[in-house]
Symmetry: C3
Subunit: 406 residues, 3 copies
Amino acid sequence: MSAGRKRVVVVGGSFGGVNAAYELRRRLPRDAEITVISRDAEFTFIPSLPWVTMGWRDPSRLQVRLDAPLQRRGIRFVHGEVQELDPQACEVRTSSQTYPYDALVIASGAELDYAAVPGLGPQVGHTFSTFTCAEAAASRDALARVLAADKGRIVIGAAAGASCVGPAYEIAMMIDTVLKRARKRHRFSITFVTPEPFLGHFGVGGIGTSPRMVQDEFAERHIDSVVNARIANAGPDRLILADASEHPFDFSLVIPAFLGSPFVRGVDGLANPKGFISVTPQLASAKFANIYAAGVAVAIAPPGPTPVPVAVPKTGHMTELMAQAAARNLAAEFTGGVKVDGMTLHSTCIADAGDTAFYMSADPFLPPRNKVIVKRGKWARYLKLTFERYYLARIRHDLPSMDFGW
Amino acid sequence: MSAGRKRVVVVGGSFGGVNAAYELRRRLPRDAEITVISRDAEFTFIPSLPWVTMGWRDPSRLQVRLDAPLQRRGIRFVHGEVQELDPQACEVRTSSQTYPYDALVIASGAELDYAAVPGLGPQVGHTFSTFTCAEAAASRDALARVLAADKGRIVIGAAAGASCVGPAYEIAMMIDTVLKRARKRHRFSITFVTPEPFLGHFGVGGIGTSPRMVQDEFAERHIDSVVNARIANAGPDRLILADASEHPFDFSLVIPAFLGSPFVRGVDGLANPKGFISVTPQLASAKFANIYAAGVAVAIAPPGPTPVPVAVPKTGHMTELMAQAAARNLAAEFTGGVKVDGMTLHSTCIADAGDTAFYMSADPFLPPRNKVIVKRGKWARYLKLTFERYYLARIRHDLPSMDFGW
Amino acid sequence: MSAGRKRVVVVGGSFGGVNAAYELRRRLPRDAEITVISRDAEFTFIPSLPWVTMGWRDPSRLQVRLDAPLQRRGIRFVHGEVQELDPQACEVRTSSQTYPYDALVIASGAELDYAAVPGLGPQVGHTFSTFTCAEAAASRDALARVLAADKGRIVIGAAAGASCVGPAYEIAMMIDTVLKRARKRHRFSITFVTPEPFLGHFGVGGIGTSPRMVQDEFAERHIDSVVNARIANAGPDRLILADASEHPFDFSLVIPAFLGSPFVRGVDGLANPKGFISVTPQLASAKFANIYAAGVAVAIAPPGPTPVPVAVPKTGHMTELMAQAAARNLAAEFTGGVKVDGMTLHSTCIADAGDTAFYMSADPFLPPRNKVIVKRGKWARYLKLTFERYYLARIRHDLPSMDFGW
């Protein structure tokens, strides 16, 4: 892998794919061909989708078309879904075309595993979600109907094996805030049903004093909680847990577990049984040296066992850092240079509650940590708002990344 | 119930009865006859009775004779105890006389159910209490003797089914304060024995972060605690719990459970088995449309089950708001007008610890809530003090009510 | 015990012995003969030994030779170890000489009971400790090697029956601080293994809200903890608990239980089975009226039972107060005067974490207490530092004691 014009294919058009492509463009020779293949025509700032659910944001404000910004930088953009990967032939295939590569970056995120729980999910099931603009818009309309009523039962939760429980916390607290503002909170119950062994675990064993902070917050907001919950079935008006307890609802939003992309799961030796890619600390596939991965597509072992499985989340921030590290290491293959550790990542995230917000910074992301900051305040809401605006401008214009909080 | 001169009888001369009578006077036509029948000749500011127990207040400072203030406003005052209620004949009877009514407001509070636990109570038993001036004065004298000694064992608690556990918390903390000031706290044990499932439950499942706050406070004060306690027997020098554990004492004050007034319990369909009146949200009896109820006399279901029964407290503040709502709804029957919800109440209460105090505000009183404030500080003591003074003046002069804290 | 020239022997040259001797010198007639017999030629400021373990202090800075300061005040100093005590003959014997006494003060501290756990201790075992300069220096060198590595497993703990667990807390937190500063905390695990029933118990049932404070601190520092631990065996690379769980380590420091001095254990009726002296509140032996005791040598009953035994610590501060009280009461025997209670003591201690510190003040030391202060802040580190400097000067020059914080 050294002579000639190189072809690098990046699968994914979200935090991982876009950042990998930008970073590759900066690091690879001018004649290298970089192709981004994305199922979606637009980049979506997924962290703000809970605000869509609340009706506080129009989805269009959170999207940037991918073609123009990528092409302006000499990156080819293909709007299509990869259906097959042949690591021996070094090719990926969409329904219409085949793309050979010298190196591949997989940043295709995950599938939402609604099928794991009967009745789960907004399409064939009874619970809402907030991982795509369509999901968020559907949840918004259903939630608005319920909140317009005189009383109601709200059940927010996450399925066993879920990794990204943060939005569930945000939505539970934001609904509390909205109901308080309408002075009818007392006529609605809010129940939080989570596979975590304790509130504020977040799939990482807690972030500093986050467990205590979340417990206090839920006490003050009178949000009931069920931990170690394994949702067995989602009926039209109730969640049924594995212990047969039932949680009736008028509105329910449940975070699903994730599965790796189907084209990844099809390749022997690339991924773990759930379809997440096993990587070296440099983010190369443990089996195929010219395949790199970043973000949600990557397998990360949980810091410890839990009674009900909870997976490690990958924030947008982490995904971006992984994508930059993967791109840097891939470029080092072609052009020389030092490879970096892409698995020991810090991450900052802000969870919004509507009336206040929680700023959590962890370095590294998994414990034990060199540094941890957990703070609560309105200022964190404004920081989250500002960051969203900046990030969308950044994707449009390839601005420098902003590693705030450190 | 519309034409002619109306006769309204109000049973009770405390927070509920006086406020109902004042509100009725404001709302009913001048020719309506309003009669208050009270077992006590004086209004007593019950929330300050724990200060009598501590020897910090003379009982006389907490009382206002009822006759003059009521009569000055054209309200008839009868000093007597209602012994029978005939809802068909629309009459109440004292030992000496019968009072017919067009509408009745029952704000007669509760009986102290010392009989439920052998040995309980200051009259035939071995534990003190603080719900009347006489009880408070008796507990003051006994406590003073014990605190004058060189060492001692203090056991403060509440019986199973008790609703009003707040004074027990206050007295436990105030005794700690007094002993510290005398620099002999280390020679006294203070044990808190409560049916609540956790400290700071208060019969309402906690008020925001009150459980954590109380636990910290008790840790700092080295007040030992036993939760889920069911007192089975009160001996001359020890409490014996249902689990056979014993708590020896030199001084013990135990809050009893409450029972509805005997004349209420005698009427079929008016009250629940404990004698508390089942009401509509408008505070009318569920069975007798011309009977209203307010305050402690009203049945309120607990927010959830507990291993040992704990009943929902009704603060003076809540009772006043209920009495005003009941009076307003009763007047609306006679004169037209909109009825209001008298069961969704907010409440503010201040628990004194002697050296600091706890301000707790809950709206509504039962969770989930629109608003909750839990704060700790000396300022709350001064607020409590000031409020007592204002309230007594208010009863004397029918001043506007002061809904502080909102 | 009244006429003639009195001979008082003080056994011990640490907090207890030196302070007893100084106080006796102030209180006894000029012709009284005061002899201090100490195993060590130097006074060591033991509370700072954890700083030696961390490599932040040279042991020599923490020591003061005993001979000159004592002799300058007319106190005889004997460098030797007492091997026998004959309370009938009123004599103590070292290997070389016999010292008759009219009154004896035992402030000889304790033996480190490494033998109670196979494999424990720095000499024949595999775990380090920090109770002597030699121990601290050995632990410093071993710790430095482990911290210089790229990754490692640190296990800090205390054996069943240990009293002085404070240094273990300090060292666990200081190691966390050092690793964070080196930005490699994430590659080291730190596990805290303690017989206490909960973190922050400290052998005294907690100090105010210390349990919650320590739990939060450990959560923020990602220090794992095992409570109710009974270490059964210390292997070359792991601690094995009584429940068969194993804690592998690259470096381990374990606080041993204490045993009374052998010469004390040899005297029938003087001490409890562990060798700690049973005393009256005036600190005289319950059996031998002319023997006084102070500090670690004294038996103090724990405030309550714990699943695994934890003994009551005696801080340097307490030992000093006890020594002064014992000296005062002993002098009162000779010269008349009021005896004082030497067992109801307050104590202030500061636990250093390297980046912050914890100030804890308890009066009295065992609950329930008249006063308790628990605070966290960098200022407490500086206070600890300053106090160390002052204290060493004080031993040199017999300056007045500084009872800070009250």
